[in-house]
Symmetry: C2
């Protein structure tokens, strides 16, 4: 198909497609003349993946390129790709903590994950992000937040198992690599959406009078 049809099929504007092509985020089409190229279903799929990363994952273009680079590297293994994707798609993180307070909170996180038997790299960026939430909660006097995080950790173990089951159930290494990307990005959104629905359901159950139920 020509670039116009590719645009129609994916809902991505032609100038945007041309930009992705220039940036190497979408592989070039097959040249049919100096000014024309032909595209196939692989291009449709890749464009959808790029849009999912940008719209659902809210990744900046540089991060999308990084993640796709990992997907396109056939030698990549699951554990390494997971690390690359995790670093690209990190949760928001407060940055104004004093270094000593932040370091103490990171040690608290490491002590917690070690007690759970989790084998994770010491410098994992998620450790800093989690520690920063503890620092912020502490500064607001919400001391109970640490206990909530401890309960979350036990729940997160189940999420990790579900995620790795999802990734492992694949038709080949290419499919597996893409699933890491899609599962991380779409999974974050799905999980937070389900958290809100579950909260609403639990809240209605506990406070039926207030909602007229």
């Amino acid at each position: 198909m020509r670039i116009g049809e590719l645009s129609k099929r994916t809902g991505v504007a032609v100038p945007t497609i041309k930009y992705y092509l220039r940036e190497g985020m979408v592989p070039p089409g097959e040249r049919t003349s100096p000014n024309q190229a032909r595209y196939d279903e692989g291009h449709v799929h890749r464009l959808r993946l790029v849009r999912a990363l940008i719209e659902v994952g809210r990744l900046p273009v540089a991060k999308v390129r990084e993640v796709l680079g990992a997907v396109d590297t056939p030698a990549g293994n699951v554990d390494k790709l997971l690390g690359t994707v995790q670093k690209a798609v990190l949760p928001a993180m407060p940055e104004n903590a004093e270094p000593e307070i932040q370091t103490a909170a990171e040690q608290e996180v490491t002590a917690m994950t070690t007690a759970l038997g989790w084998c994770t790299p010491d410098d994992h960026p998620a450790t800093s992000a989690l520690a920063a939430t503890l620092v912020t909660a502490q500064a607001l006097g919400h001391t109970g937040f640490l206990d909530l995080v401890r309960r979350y950790a036990l729940i997160a173990e189940q999420i990790g198992v579900a995620d790795l089951d999802y990734i492992a159930d694949h038709p080949g290494i290419d499919g597996m690599l893409e699933k890491v990307v899609v599962g991380t990005v779409l999974g974050d959104t799905a999980l937070l959406a389900l958290r809100r629905l579950a909260q609403a359901a639990e809240s209605t159950k506990r406070y039926p009078d207030e909602t007229g139920g």
Copy 2:
């Protein structure tokens, strides 16, 4: 304390504090002269809360104002405040789905939550967000994602219970309202960070050879 000390205590620049005061996000200090006001610990606390919503929750100023308005309304009940905060702090959501496909996916989500016995409003924005992830996964041919979401739903029930326990354990309605805000915003970040650590731990367990472990 004067505004200069308030700035020092919270790490928020004086012009930014003045902006929050003008916008009504921080209550005015006690006037001591036409050009000076005195601030107290309540202002320190409120500024930290504003920064947490902006830095951790990545909320735009208009949303922060909306959430704080709900916190400052003494008549607000838990269920209503939860709804306001949830709407302000929604997960990212793709928007390019065709209306019929999106509607079908929303019906699928509602069928799932109904089967779980969750009582949630039909028009909850999290339903659309979750449906949009299903549409995106489907467009990418990742049909297994629906099964992952079903597993997530069972896990999310436990998150909802933990969250409502956290909110209920409070010294008064003011504390409870603030906990909804802090718990939602910091909780999202904590949960996604723990998801990554749990994934890394599970990945290392399953693929030890690849990481040299």
